[in-house]
Amino acid sequence: MIGQAIALVLARPGEFLDALLTHVALSAAALAVAIALAVPAGLLLSRRAAAALLTINAANVAKTVPSLAVLALMLPILGTGFLPALVALILLALPSILINTVGAIVRVDADVVGAATAMGMTPRQIARRIELPLAVPVVFAGIRTAAVEVVASATLASFIGGGGLGDFITAGIAMSEMSQLLVGAVPVALLTVATELGFATLQRELTPRGLRVAA
């Protein structure tokens, strides 16, 4: 069956590569937009304890909505295609990043921020030089979770015509063709694992040296 799947890929390399590229592009774009939105928003929302608490609770509730439901909800609003799939994936990525950003900033040691204030740092300097570097490991843990969610959920984009590797899976199921299904499923699984490992490495590298557990 694996052999058949490989033969399928080799028979139509263009189609496979297209799907793979769409899958990666969709995931990367969604993650990039989500980071650009959620990190600054998290920083702002962490300024007030009430806003921070509300954000974390709301995001936790939002996280329980199944990926497929979010994608399906896009249909009546934005129709089918790449864009609605992208919007849906952004929405899926936001909560994890938001929760971790708010949580990380709120948990920065008050004494450290107090010392920075007392030494004459402006609020901006404190955010850039103290709070964000100290929050990096936790923020990145959120980005890593979101990245894996997005890569996995991008498979479902196929249901609303978003393309990607999910196309092979839906076609395989529709035609009861296991080899076709594998052409989609195996690369998605590998991509997800690679994303996890890649972001884990990145997270370690970006953690300031003074905060690393074993250095």
């Binding site: 040691d109 004494d111 450290v112 107090g114 010392a115 920075a116 204030t117 007392a118 030494m119 004459g120 740092m121 402006t122 300097q125 103290i130 570097p133 100290l134 300031p208 040296r209 003074g210 905060l211 250095a215």
Partner: protein
């Protein structure tokens, strides 16, 4: 100089004032220890000086300028601040921590690098060994030293310390206190130090301000506080052995007598030892007098008279 004039701080929604019509003067290049039970307003008083807390009423001057009309960021860059455990930035090296205020002040790199090494030397840490370390790799006492180095790096005329040695073990604390005294003899700073430790206040303070319920109960030299406590609270605070503590403030050399025959060498005491130590030696040896190394003697009667009369 630091001057507080009838300063009151009332936090929103609370009835009692945290600091109540407090007036206090800290002369140039002297150290004042703020002491009192918890909730007495000593930390609030300290934080009013660098505007971490803003007064509800009254006036606070640092170097002749009203802090409320001074830009808080510029004000704080000219005031060193040390807190318990140092409050070091964990993601920055020792050197980067010390460089914080010089960098904010826009010094050039060469001057900053020289200042880092100078400050590490001042607090007794070898620059080559400690510059590149992270706070995580320091002991409590070393963190506290780096905290002091960081506070002094920007050449502030004023230094505020909030229970700086509270988290250090007793032996380490005494060593840090001695080092701080040595540092303050070399660099002239106007210092306010908050502590709940009476012995620390007696040791470090040129003057001591005793606070209770946000009010100044007594303000004076260590000897004045010990020998003439203003009320029962102060007397209780300084402890039942306050006379002995007062004797500990006076060196043996102050009561040197050159008359009469010198006692034998086995009854000798150093001139820089204090009267409490001299008294302990007399009790221990059963002698009414001791020989002072380098000449002269000290007699029990003089020590007792000193204890009864002044400080």
């Amino acid at each position: 100089m630091i001057r507080l004039e009838a300063v009151t701080k009332r936090y929103d929604g609370t009835g009692a004032a945290a600091v109540d019509a407090l007036s206090l003067e800290v002369p140039e290049a002297t150290t004042t220890a703020l002491i009192g039970p918890s909730g007495s307003g000593k930390t609030t008083t300290l934080r009013l000086i660098n505007r971490l807390v803003e007064p509800s009423a009254g006036r606070i001057e640092v170097a002749g300028r009203d802090v409320m009309t001074t830009d808080p960021v510029a004000l704080r860059r000219s005031i060193g601040y040390v807190i318990q455990q140092g409050g070091l930035f964990p993601h920055m090296t020792v050197a980067e921590n010390i460089a914080t205020v010089p960098r904010l002040l826009g010094w050039d790199d060469a001057r900053i690098a020289a200042r880092i090494d100078e400050m590490l030397g001042l607090v007794g840490l070898d620059p080559a060994d400690y510059r590149a370390r992270y706070p995580r790799a320091l002991s409590g006492g070393q963190r506290q030293r780096v905290g002091v180095a960081r506070a002094l790096a920007g050449e502030p005329p004023v230094l505020l310390m909030d229970e700086p040695f509270g988290a250090v073990d007793p032996i380490g604390r005494e060593r840090l206190q001695n080092e701080l005294l040595a540092i303050l003899r070399r660099v002239r700073k106007t210092v306010v130090i908050v502590t709940h430790d009476v012995d620390e206040a007696l040791k470090l303070g040129d003057r001591i301000a005793v606070l209770d319920g946000g009010r100044l109960v007594q303000h004076g030299t260590p000897a004045e506080i010990l020998l003439r406590p203003a009320n029962a609270l102060v007397a209780g605070f300084v402890g039942g052995d306050r006379i002995l503590k007062a004797l500990a403030l006076v060196p043996v050399a102050a009561l040197r007598r050159s008359d009469g025959p010198a006692p034998p060498d086995r009854l000798q005491i150093a001139p820089e030892a204090n009267l409490r130590e001299a008294l302990a030696r007399m009790i221990e040896t059963g002698s009414h007098e001791l020989a002072i190394a380098g000449g002269g003697r000290i007699i029990l009667g003089d020590v007792l008279a000193k204890a009864r009369t002044s400080g």
